[in-house]
């Protein structure tokens, strides 16, 4: 039986483009399951398929001491959703590097629920959004720390850049902590390109479009650099940025 169709009243679907989702719901209703066994490693790069509507719903289970690192670029022309539910056993590590790059009327969102179940788990989520036109880009990130999951270390860093007054960024880190010896940090900023940085670049000879593209590249590309630069995703992100800047 297919899962019930979501509504905006459900927090994790609050900003979703449900009209775009409806025709394809059957296809995506069931999340995909990934399991990383104790001590094992997983690295995944999720590139956009190019479809107007694109969903990726994944449940990721990390065994004791398992490590997972996921890079994702969310840049659908109509509706893109990356949904991740992660569980971490003892000393498991999870890293997510994600970007929403959107223009026009697109909605792109990254929705995560990271559950620290075992002691000493570590999670890092770094999300960057670049939004032009009337695009919407969201990050809804819930971190749950179970009662016994002492020494959990969880971090969420979310930054969004708006290139047009009509663009919208939603950042919602959420913590639910039932252990008392944990470190959970989150930071979120929404900004526009800095006028002085733009002028500095233009005063050196770059035209306004080139200056904007360079600054945005600096803003977004740090994501991929920190992890040995997976070239395919960096190149795809660069292309998406060029499209978004127009």
């Amino acid at each position: 039986m297919t899962a019930p169709f979501p509504t905006h009243r459900q927090e994790e679907w609050r900003y979703a483009d449900l009209d775009a989702l409806k025709p394809v719901w059957e296809q995506f209703a069931e999340p995909m399951t990934l399991t990383v066994g104790p001590g094992e490693r997983l690295e995944e790069i999720w590139l956009p398929s190019g479809d107007d509507v694109q969903l990726r719903r994944v449940q990721l289970a990390l065994g004791s001491g398992a490590k997972a690192r996921i890079f994702t670029l969310n840049t659908a022309a109509v509706y893109g959703r990356i949904e991740l539910e992660v569980s971490l056993e003892e000393c498991a590590e999870f890293e997510l590097y994600g970007a929403n790059i959107g223009t026009g009327l697109s909605t792109n969102e990254i929705v995560t629920n990271v559950k620290h179940i075992g002691v000493g788990g570590r999670s890092r989520q770094t999300i960057r959004s670049v939004l032009n036109g009337k695009a919407v880009g969201s990050y809804l990130g819930k971190v749950e720390v179970a009662r016994g999951a002492q020494k959990t270390d969880a971090e969420q860093s979310v930054k969004a850049m708006l290139l047009d007054r009509g663009a919208t960024a939603n950042c919602k880190p959420e913590l639910e902590i039932f252990a008392d010896d944990v470190k959970c940090a989150h930071g979120a900023t929404v900004g526009e390109l800095d006028a002085m940085q733009l002028f500095y670049a233009e005063s050196r000879g770059m035209d306004p479009a080139a200056a904007r593209a360079l600054l945005l590249e600096g803003f977004a590309m740090g994501l991929w650099e920190s992890a040995g630069e997976p070239d395919a995703i960096a190149e795809a992100a660069r292309e998406a940025l060029r499209r978004a800047v127009g």
Binding site: A195, M196, Q197, F199, Y200, A201, E202, S203, R204, G205, M206, D207, P208, A210, A211, L214, L215, E217, G218, F219, A220, M221, G222
Partner: protein, 247 residues
């Protein structure tokens, strides 16, 4: 080479420049001195085309062209360089990438061939070395984590790489110790002292002028040039201050 005629300018509707006239012929270095708030940096920004700095009257011609009709990047391609008083930090963009894009954008608009990555790195290394800067610093993001003195030195490295015809240097000497001051002074002489080049050197202090030896010194007060002279004027200001020198 640079001719400023009765220039009036406002920032946020407040008049800052009230009729500046100044002519810098090719081959000359002119210094502008003046107290805080006299309009020195505003003049620099107006010449470079910073948004929000509105010219209400007067004009500027650069090599016979109407400078004020040009966009900031067109002014750069025409050979104008502004050395910033407070160089800007750009996280995530390396100095090498920033300067290579800048130089190649200028070259493209002048119809010149772009420099390859290899050619550019060679040029950047040479210029960094001449200014006593560790070339590895150019791999770092633009000005991020640089000390005040390092930022000013990096401005001079940029000037060496971009090789402008005319440089406006806005308090390039502030934040420099005595050794760095000499290196920067030598750099200005090496890069910009040529029959077809010119410099407008904005400074509070006379010390840099002993290294660079300007052909003319002007005093800017309340948005106007109130006195002009040779380097003796700078020395006089150093000992008496602005109030007395103009009284």
């Amino acid at each position: 080479m640079l001719e400023i005629t009765s220039l009036h300018a406002t920032v946020a509707d407040k008049p800052i420049l009230n009729g500046v006239s100044l002519r810098v012929p090719a081959g000359e270095v002119h210094a502008i001195m003046g107290p805080n708030g006299s309009g020195k940096s505003t003049l620099a920004y107006v010449l470079a085309g910073r948004p929000g700095y509105e010219v209400s009257e007067g004009g500027v011609s650069f090599d016979g062209r109407d400078l004020l009709a040009m966009e900031p990047h067109e002014r750069a391609a025409a050979g104008l360089f502004l050395g910033f008083q407070y160089p800007v930090e750009i996280p995530g963009v390396s100095y090498l990438q920033f300067l290579r894009e800048s130089l190649n954008a200028q070259r493209r608009s002048r119809g010149e061939a772009e420099l390859s990555a290899g050619e550019f790195i060679k040029l950047a290394r040479e210029q960094a070395k001449l200014l006593g800067m560790d070339a590895d610093m150019l791999k770092r993001p633009v000005n991020v984590g640089f000390s005040g003195g390092e930022k000013k030195r990096a401005e001079m490295v940029q000037m060496g790489i971009l090789a402008p015809k005319f440089a406006i240097l806005d308090e390039t000497d502030s934040g420099l110790d005595i050794d760095a001051l000499r290196i920067v002074g030598d750099g200005i002489n090496r890069i910009m002292r040529a029959p077809d080049k010119g410099v407008l050197l904005i400074t509070h202090y006379e010390r840099l002028l002993e290294h660079v030896r300007p052909d003319r010194v002007h005093v800017l007060q309340a948005g106007k040039i109130t006195r002009s002279g040779d380097i003796e004027l700078a020395r006089e200001l150093e000992s008496t201050g602005y109030a007395e020198a103009v009284a």
